[in-house]
């Protein structure tokens, strides 16, 4: 199969060397940042660093550089309304989840140990699906909601793959 030859032969050699240099496929966009390495695409610490090659600049709101902690904090708070109830675990969705929690209170044993649960898996999935539908009800998913769902999955013994399957079903 004939393959056209781009001037920049991307597969020159893929030592781990500068994979981003290869990716440094450029573009144009708003900020016109340029970079050469993978780092160029990352935000981690190089917020202020000048970049040199030309990846497309991505705009992201509040949180710039910061990783994990910052991100969590910011996102958790950013939710639709409810402040985290405790230890940063509760967020906007916590409000939604509370309802479920109430319902689940009596079934706590079941939920707390899904593997040995006597609750039919379908019920568990249905319960999770309800939560899933709720979190996207405003059209936007935020990290607080994501955290809540992750916690829910853990409680219900639902795998990430099952979660993705439900999301896909839900979105059609």
């Amino acid at each position: 199969m004939t393959t056209p030859e781009p001037e920049t032969d991307p597969e020159s050699e893929d030592d781990e060397v500068d994979p981003f240099a290869e990716l440094g496929v450029e573009t144009s966009s708003s900020n016109g940042n340029i970079s050469d390495g993978l780092e160029a695409f990352m935000d981690d610490d190089d917020e202020d660093e000048p970049v040199d090659s030309a990846p497309v600049a991505v705009k992201h709101d509040e949180e710039e550089s910061d990783d994990d902690d910052d991100m969590f904090a910011t996102l958790g708070v950013a939710g639709p309304s409810v402040a985290l109830a405790s230890a940063g675990e509760n967020d906007i969705l916590a409000a939604f989840m509370d309802e479920d929690d109430d319902d689940e209170a009596d079934e706590e044993a079941t939920y707390s140990s899904p593997e040995t649960s006597t609750t039919p898996q379908n019920d568990v999935m249905d319960a999770y699906k309800l939560v899933l539908e709720t979190v996207w009800v405003d059209g936007i998913l935020d990290s607080g909601e994501v955290n809540l769902l992750a916690k829910r999955r853990e409680e219900l013994g639902i795998s990430f793959e099952e979660h993705l399957k439900l999301v896909r079903e839900m979105l059609g």
């Binding site: 199969m1 004939t2 393959t3 056209p4 781009p6 920049t8 991307p10 597969e11 893929d14 994979p19 981003f20 290869e22 990716l23 440094g24 496929v25 450029e26 573009t27 144009s28 966009s29 708003s30 900020n31 940042n33 970079s35 993978l38 160029a40 695409f41 990352m42 935000d43 917020e47 970049v51 990846p55 497309v56 600049a57 991505v58 705009k59 992201h60 709101d61 509040e62 949180e63 710039e64 550089s65 910061d66 990783d67 994990d68 991100m71 969590f72 996207w136 059209g139 936007i140 998913l141 935020d142 990290s143 994501v146 955290n147 992750a150 990430f160 993705l164 999301v167 896909r168 979105l171």
Partner: protein
């Protein structure tokens, strides 16, 4: 950069048809892209048939210039050729970046459709859903991911 289709290959088709015709060179370039994306002939045929139907209806999106296709294919190949860990990290961080900005259903769906051909749906999903913890945001993306970033509302 706006996505001209729901997948990288569809985007390429729109670039190839920018002038209402496809040259043999462009056809070969699409062959190269098909290989890079590991698309089967039937998958490609299905995408092309759909695009051509839209061409006939006059609703197919088009690229803007002759150089765009080559540039696009270079970009996709560059991303495909890079070590899987690297592209996965990028996709994961793209997901994390999208989440920070606020991930819509449409954005999620569009990104999944787009990233599927690149084999990056899983890391993207992990980034979006914080599986394994939050990841740092991206400040820029390679061209091959720019249309997704646009779909996610990340481009300024």
């Amino acid at each position: 950069m706006q996505a001209l289709g729901s997948t990288p290959f569809e985007h390429a088709l729109a670039l190839a048809w920018f002038d209402d015709r496809m040259t043999t060179t462009e056809f070969r370039q699409l062959d190269a892209l098909q290989t890079s994306l590991n698309l089967s002939d039937s998958e490609r045929a299905s995408i092309e048939a759909d695009y051509e139907n839209r061409l006939a209806e006059g609703t197919a999106p088009r690229g803007k210039d002759a150089n765009s296709l080559a540039q696009w294919i270079d970009a996709v190949r560059a991303l495909s050729n890079v070590h899987e860990d690297v592209s996965s990290v990028l996709a994961r961080r793209l997901g994390g970046t999208a989440l920070r900005t606020g991930l819509t259903r449409d954005g999620w769906k569009a990104a999944n459709d787009w990233l599927e051909q690149l084999g990056l749906t899983q890391p993207f999903a992990e980034g979006c859903w914080l599986v394994g913890g939050p990841v740092p945001a991206l400040s820029a993306v390679p061209l091959a991911l720019a249309p997704v970033a646009d779909s996610l509302g990340l481009l300024g």
